[in-house]
Symmetry: C2
Subunit: 266 residues, 2 copies
């Protein structure tokens, strides 16, 4: 008898992502002169949190996806029970990593990282977004732009904002500029996701596409049109870059991330 399947499933679920959220942590930390050997801990934490959310989101009872990051999803490779447990343990691991003393130097900063991570992940953050998403599928009308924006703020925005602000939190510095950056970036990211769902190539994306249109779901593309969605994503990218002005050229890595987000193919 072994505990191996759950551990293997956790590793499998962590593999092959873009690492965007970890990148945001590391770049935000660099802007605040945080040692990268310390910043790697919250960077790993947010990737564990993100991986858990994907594993649970892909379950048959949720989005029922069989392909993720170019590989069969965790519940397809193992089974639903292993996927539930691997996701559960990855959420715990995320807090373990965020609170590790090898990460943020002061206990104040660690407890702040952990507390804000819990808020971003929970019923007023990511899980709220997921719940609104599920409610939308069975609703008798399509969502409005405001409602979709609120949904995405939770589903994607909360973890992206945590990632971008982890660096200043580690340094006990102000988070406002990176928070503004992240809010624009998170929304641009989700609009790009909706565009990818329509225009992308499944092989490159590594996940099933055209699911939303097939399900008759309102998206930024269905509400703004393809050209309108692209224009809005470009505006948001500019807004994200503008928010970085207090950091000068040091923030070029984050500007690059903003441009990557709307040009990405996966």
């Amino acid at each position: 008898m072994g505990d191996q399947p759950v551990i293997e499933a956790m590793r499998y679920g962590l593999r092959g992502g873009k690492g965007l959220r970890a990148y945001l942590v590391l770049e935000g930390a660099a802007l605040h002169d945080v040692d990268p050997a310390r910043a790697i801990w919250p960077a790993a934490a947010i990737e564990a949190m993100h991986a858990y959310s994907l594993i649970h989101d892909d379950l048959p009872a949720m989005d029922d996806d069989d392909l993720r990051r170019g590989q069969p999803t965790v519940h397809v490779t193992w089974d639903d029970a292993t996927a539930i447990l691997a996701g559960d343990a990855l959420q715990s691991l995320a807090f373990e990593l965020a609170l590790d003393p090898r990460g943020a130097q002061s206990a104040e900063a660690r407890t702040e990282l952990g507390l804000t991570l819990a808020q971003a992940a929970g019923a007023r953050g990511m899980v709220l977004g997921q719940a609104l998403d599920i409610a939308a599928e069975t609703a008798d009308r399509a969502l409005t732009l405001d409602e979709i924006t609120r949904l995405q703020n939770g589903k994607t925005g909360a973890l992206i904002a945590w990632s971008a602000t982890a660096g200043p939190r580690m340094a006990r510095a102000k988070t406002e500029a990176l928070q503004l950056y992240a809010e624009a970036l998170g929304l641009a990211f989700q609009i790009a996701d909706d565009i990818l769902d329509v225009e992308g190539d499944e092989k490159t994306a590594g996940k099933r596409l055209q699911k939303d249109a097939g399900a008759g779901k309102a998206t930024f593309v269905s509400l703004l049109g393809l050209a309108g969605a692209k224009a809005r994503a470009a505006e948001l990218t500019d807004a994200a870059c503008d928010a970085l002005s207090p950091y000068g050229k040091g923030a070029d890595g984050l500007r690059e991330a903003a441009r990557f987000v709307i040009s990405r193919q996966s």
Copy 2:
């Protein structure tokens, strides 16, 4: 469209428990002169963590239980997706509560509470126990006493130990005596659970019984016999009470909890 179902399901899942883990936190805190208004935060945290584990454990893909705390389980009352999300959000909430500045006074104590909670809940703690439990169901042989003990240490023991030691952690005091108490208590608790599964009344217990024997699962009762299991549980209760001797009469509440654990009907 509303986020209400997940929030309601979280509340529903939190209701009607014995509150044993919260009681352990409050009693352990009292022994270390921690203000109960502060101790209530980690006490609430551990009840949220426990409630999440029950909601996920009861899912059809896991233990497939329809009755819990005398009520239909969360996935029966709502659906699997809501139960998965409510469990996920309760885990986040557990960390939010454990790290709240209104709880442990020093940031060092809060980060320690959060970190040890993550370790207790994760793939080397509670989830490990769950994974071993699931592996046991499909194994081609019954578990040995050592294997069942390891399984239960994870599944039940880890959260009980965290509960009993949260008080000294809040006070930045030594945890050894309460750790020893909790290890004996946790095992006694699980043996009592196996006895309850054989001898208990479903109505009083508020959950389905005689599931283990029906599934041909090895339990403390199947391995030690009913009389042997009762004798072992009584020994462990004595050991738990002995571990409390450094605290004198102040620990009578915890002694009572140990006696409650083996006499409980639910």
